[in-house]
């Protein structure tokens, strides 16, 4: 199956490490990725606050480009950024269930000779890795099982809500299953899908910080060595503001926050460099050792 890759704006700046690790992991697993040519911003949440139809049109252009670029029309468009993933999925969903919206959007696309059939399938790398590629195959590829590493899997909001595309909205498990497949252990916690503050950390910081804080403290309280995310904004919020939270609210938070693909890369034996680990503010020290002879890889 051919996969198209939609980086989205964040993966070109704050989420650089996410892009690097996604590409590295897919390469290591020999899953071909092809970047969507001349993709544009998905519109994120802000755009919907100004003009709904324009927002749909903006996102639809990407879906249309994908349709063209993948010869057979049935495109699998991978969007690692949670916001992009949701906006594209949402657009796809509304365009199919509301013919009049689709009509409006297509009328707009027609002006530049584009037309969207509605065949693009928006996917999240987590979905692709766990469900298309498969955990068994991943386990087989693990070179450095993450023995004894306690991971807090943080899904955030927009990958699992509001659409139940590949996991439960209220209590998702795919990232946990993935981490276990890499030999790590995961913590049971109720906050795995609670909002990290999103863009509020940039606007109404007080509010934003407190949301991130709740997650970080609870993860630490449950003795997690590291938190992994599948969203650049979550990663940014949870990692970059730890000092500020400690300063402002007198906490003692110190927990590495990485992308799930980075953790995966480590287990697959990729170098920290190619996974962009060096870009993290507090670098996780992975106490990983190559398995002794005869010892099963998956602990």
């Amino acid at each position: 199956m051919k996969y198209l890759y939609y980086p989205g704006c964040s993966l070109h700046s704050t989420g650089k490490a996410y892009e690097e690790s996604v590409l590295a992991v897919f390469k290591a697993l020999e899953i071909p990725l092809e970047e969507l040519e001349d993709w544009n911003c998905c519109g994120a949440t802000s755009y919907f606050s100004i003009d709904e139809t324009e927002a749909f049109a903006l996102a639809a252009r990407n879906l249309e480009l994908a349709e063209n670029q993948s010869g057979n029309g049935h495109a699998n468009l991978i969007a690692p950024c949670a916001a992009c993933y949701l906006v594209l999925t949402k657009t796809q969903h509304y365009l199919t269930s509301y013919p009049d919206i689709k009509q409006k959007v297509n009328d707009a696309l027609d002006t530049v000779g584009l037309h969207y059939e509605g065949k693009t399938n928006v996917r999240h790398p987590l979905d692709v890795l766990v469900n298309d590629y498969g955990l068994d195959k991943i386990t087989k590829r693990v070179k450095k099982p993450l023995k004894g590493l306690r991971v807090a899997c943080y899904y955030g909001c927009q990958v699992v809500r509001p659409f139940k595309v590949f996991d439960d909205s209220l209590y998702p498990t795919s990232m946990d299953r993935l981490a276990k497949a890499l030999g790590a252990e995961t913590i049971e916690w109720p906050l795995k899908t609670r909002c990290c503050g999103g863009s509020l950390t940039g606007t109404i910081q007080e509010a934003g910080l407190r949301l991130s804080r709740a997650l970080l403290i609870d993860a630490q309280r449950r003795k997690a060595d590291i938190m992994i995310t599948c969203c650049p904004l979550c990663q940014h919020n949870l990692e970059c503001y730890q000092d500020r939270i400690n300063r402002k609210l007198g906490d003692h938070i110190h927990i590495p926050v990485a992308y799930f693909t980075q953790l995966m890369g480590i287990a697959l034996g990729l170098s920290e460099k190619e996974l962009g680990i060096h870009r993290l503010f507090n670098r996780p020290r992975f106490a990983v050792t190559a398995p002794k002879k005869g010892e099963p890889v998956h602990a």
Partner: protein
């Protein structure tokens, strides 16, 4: 096509009903009456406010006599509602009731349309259809069949128990079939009952033993209905008797075998205590179980698993009642009526993960708490949590799996009241702080609101708001080690976090998981939620669309004990009416073969689902056994030579209805005869 010559002998009376404003407000009844007066054969055409009223019916009767009418057409509500009424009126007037035809202009017209002219046109079309139809009506004699006086009740909860006793006390023989090893159902598991707080066991167990000892009741527990055949008054039911591995007539319920089982302690989750305690492979559900017979569970008994058990139970039984070789038996019985009281199941709280049931040990379902506070329960009535602590603060969450489009959208009607009851009992047992989280407090019932008042005075805390989540996420030290409730106190308009030790989920009532299968078995319908469908929501609440089969209790919809018992009584009364009438009049809509026309081609033989059609090979003709025919008319439609006719639904009748509707009859504009296939 009615032969216009007939007009001389056909004298039709047409009556259109206003039904107050129900019809008259949307259909111009006057115009319809005037129009119908112009149709062939119509002698009388009147409109009246309420045709179903006595004056209305008398009008018909007098007209029949004075105008010597020989056909009656009434345009009013649905025939399913009043056909019988008007047939009787016709008969009282001295006519054969089957000369009557009904036109549905309420359910099918006035109630579903707004455009008055369109509605009036439609009413005219339908009336015309009926007028043309009655030309072909013939005098018929209803088929009468005797009603078997024996009855069957399926389901041994409080509904089944009450229905069975009512019938039995009226001197009828009753078979009570229960799938569990004991009767009693959910009520037997409850501790106290609202609003009077009398103990469930105290009022239920006497009735249970009455059932056991009643000479007219045959009690079959651990049994299931597997097949139902026949028709109203004459059903034949097959019942599977599952093996108990105990010879019922020998066992006296001394429980020695349980005592001596090689398992010293219980090892498997106890169904009756909803898994809060453990039982042995040989067990009795609860002390007052009826009948007092032990059961051996083959899935857990060592003898069944390995065949290498010391069989200490067998040694223990001095009456040799234990029989590992026992096999399931099938009994076939004939009954005239059947009452279904198969009850409900509680909502599985795991379906709403945000309440943490199954994840946090101290989250309980209401049913579990009923056992927990029960003196004969797993803890002897002591409220000790799964983690061994005693709660100092308890949250009761209403509407779990009710009023939620993501799970069950209906209100379960009982949860508010039983939550109040549990609040009272838990406070009594623990002196803990008790919170009730509700969306709307629904206490509609005799002295229910008073009970709510009482609770308010017992300073139970009431917070109006649907709880969003139960977590062990401590936001501050005071919440450490607690279950934290997150809810908006909608009366204050503020979101609150409330730490508690114990959470009780007031789970809703839903249809039994096998309701659909049961429904098919007894040939009745289910409403959209999956509960059994009553014949009429108001006027026939315990009847079904299959004559002789009645429903009562929570299988028809969520219900508390008083309503259930009332409905069970009603169902029994309906059954008695049928039984005591001795015989039942069947709609004479059976099919018959016009011998001369039959070519003996055998097409019909294979089609009849009741094998009511046989072939006289000597005469080379098909023949229909009227007693077996149920009147579906499938054979009529299939007969290539048109030799089979169905009473009340003859081809001519339906063709003339089509004529009438499309206005191509003799009254029609284009003479109609144009292109009739016949």
């Amino acid at each position: 096509m009615p032969d216009v010559k007939l007009n001389g002998s056909i004298r039709i009376g047409f009556y259109i009903c206003h039904c107050g404003h129900n019809i008259a407000s949307t259909v111009d009844v006057d115009a319809v009456a005037q129009y119908v007066a112009t149709l062939p054969g119509v002698i009388v055409s009147r409109d009246y406010k309420y045709m179903c009223s006595d004056p209305g019916q008398e009008m018909i009767q007098t007209d029949i006599k004075e105008q010597n009418l020989n056909r009656i057409v009434v345009a009013s509500c649905s025939p399913l509602l009043h056909e019988h009424t008007f047939r009787t009126a016709t008969e009282k007037g001295g006519l054969n009731p089957y000369y009557f035809q009904m036109v549905n202009i309420r359910e099918n017209v006035s109630w579903v349309h707004t455009d008055k002219s369109a509605a009036t046109t439609k009413a005219k079309d339908l009336a015309r259809a009926a007028i043309l139809r009655v030309f072909h009506h013939r005098s018929l004699e209803p088929k009468r069949v005797p009603v078997n006086p024996d009855a069957m009740v399926v389901g041994g909860g409080i509904a089944g128990i009450h229905a069975a006793l009512t019938l039995a006390n009226a001197g009828k023989k009753v078979y009570l079939v229960e799938r569990e090893p004991t009767i009693g159902g959910h009520m037997a598991m409850f501790d106290k009952t609202f609003p009077t707080l009398d103990c469930a066991a105290c009022i239920l167990t006497p009735k249970m033993s009455q059932v056991k000892n009643h000479p007219n009741i045959t009690l079959w527990t651990y049994s299931e209905v597997t097949n139902v055949e026949g028709y109203v008054g004459n059903y034949s039911v097959t019942v599977k008797r599952k093996p108990r591995y105990i010879i019922e007539d020998l066992c006296v319920g001394c429980l020695e075998c349980i005592e001596k089982c090689i398992y010293k302690e219980g090892k498997y989750p106890d169904e009756f205590n909803v898994g809060l305690s453990k039982r042995k492979p040989v067990y009795i559900p609860f002390p007052q179980a009826t009948p007092q017979l032990v059961v051996i569970d083959p899935d857990t008994c060592i003898e069944f698993k390995s065949g290498k058990c010391k069989k200490t139970c067998v040694e223990a039984c001095d009456r040799d009642a234990i029989d590992f070789k026992q096999e399931e038996r099938f009994e076939e019985v004939k009954v005239g009526t059947i009452i279904l009281t198969t009850g409900f199941q509680t909502f599985d709280a795991r379906r709403v993960p945000y309440y943490g049931y199954g994840k946090y040990p101290n989250v309980y379902t209401s049913l579990e708490v009923e056992r927990l506070v029960n003196a004969s329960g797993p803890t002897g009535g002591d409220v000790i949590l799964r983690d061994g602590r005693r709660p100092t603060s308890i949250a009761i969450i209403h509407c779990v799996g009710s009023r939620d489009k993501n799970t069950n959208r209906w209100c379960s009607r009982t949860c508010c009241m039983y939550s109040l009851k549990l609040a009272h009992l838990l406070k009594e047992h623990t002196e803990a702080e008790v919170y009730n989280f509700y969306i709307d407090m629904r206490t509609p019932g005799k002295s229910y609101e008073e009970f709510y008042d009482k609770l308010l005075d017992e300073n139970v805390r009431f917070i109006r708001g649907r709880v969003a989540e139960v977590t062990d996420w401590a936001d501050r030290p005071s919440e450490e080690g607690k279950l934290v409730i997150r809810v908006e106190d909608t009366m204050v308009g503020v979101v609150r976090r409330i730490p508690v030790d114990m959470v009780v989920l007031a789970v809703g009532m839903e249809p039994q998981s096998d309701a659909q299968a049961v429904r098919k078995l007894f040939n009745i319908s289910c409403s959209t939620e999956g509960f059994f469908l009553e014949r009429h929501p108001k006027l026939a609440p315990v009847d079904t669309f299959t004559d002789g089969i009645y429903i009562a209790g929570a299988c028809q919809g969520p219900k508390d004990i008083p309503d259930t018992v009332a409905q069970a009584g009603a169902a029994a009364a309906q059954a008695l009416t049928l039984i005591d009438s001795g015989e039942i009049e069947l709609e004479p809509n059976t099919a018959f073969v016009v011998q001369d026309a039959c070519s003996g081609c055998r097409t019909c033989l294979t089609i009849c689902p009741y094998s009511a059609i046989s072939r006289d090979d000597a005469k080379q003709k098909a023949y229909i056994n009227e007693a077996l025919c149920k009147g579906c008319g499938t054979c009529v439609a299939a007969c290539p030579s048109g030799a089979i006719k169905q009473n009340l639904f003859e081809d001519e009748m339906i063709f003339s209805e089509i004529d009438g509707i499309l206005n191509t009859g003799p009254a029609g504009t284009n003479g109609g005869v144009a292109c009739s296939p016949k």
